[in-house]
Assembly symmetry: C2
Homo-oligomer: 109 residues x 2
Amino acid sequence: MKNKPDQNACPATATMALIGGRWKTIILYILSDHTRRFGEIAARMPTISRKVLTEQLKELEADGLISRTQYKEIPPRVDYAMTELGNSLTPILNDIADWGKEKVLGQTL
Amino acid sequence: MKNKPDQNACPATATMALIGGRWKTIILYILSDHTRRFGEIAARMPTISRKVLTEQLKELEADGLISRTQYKEIPPRVDYAMTELGNSLTPILNDIADWGKEKVLGQTL
DNA sequence: TTTTACTGTTACATTTACGTAACCAGTTAC
DNA sequence: GTAACTGGTTACGTAAATGTAACAGTAAAA
């Protein structure tokens, strides 16, 4: 893992080191129900630059939350998918989305 | 609310606008089981500067997640507590902490 | 009279995050 | 032979986040 925690760290901090930041939760949420190509992720996140998206994907992969599969095709095709570790976050990601729907966007579930 | 969402925003993004960032989840986690004074929060977060802690607390208050109570005493005493809205996040905060304990820190629950 | 306690604020500097624009590779379609 | 497709990378500049250090204010204690 890229973000190595120290053992007496706050457990909430430990999690947020992996999924915090402006983009990672969104990326994981997008991947939580689908394997997706780079371009598909980018299309669902119109406000992130390709450069930063690449960086975030690399970090998520380094942290073991997603996997990257590159096919030997031209034009290139790259798939991103949740790993087992990433999938263990899915309930939390759904709760986060549900909370946002209900409490922030004011949509009834 | 300070962070006004637009209606067709990603619900995960909507939540992360309120609790994202390096510090807010930690602050909320610290307050989730206790009303605490400014100094108590600071003592539990040794690496945040007082200036930034003040800013984050103000934003959390502006977003309706915590409340601030200032007592007319010298030396000053200020309490921070979860609001009802903040408390509705508690299950998520606990899940985040549990996930960090188990998956990142490697502690068995 | 000086210090301590507590919760800040302010000015300033620095670090980190993010964006923009240009460029690359290799095959296919025009 | 040139453009388009896809998933990037690189150089560069800007914006946001955070830190540091000093200061404020008032009562009680030393």
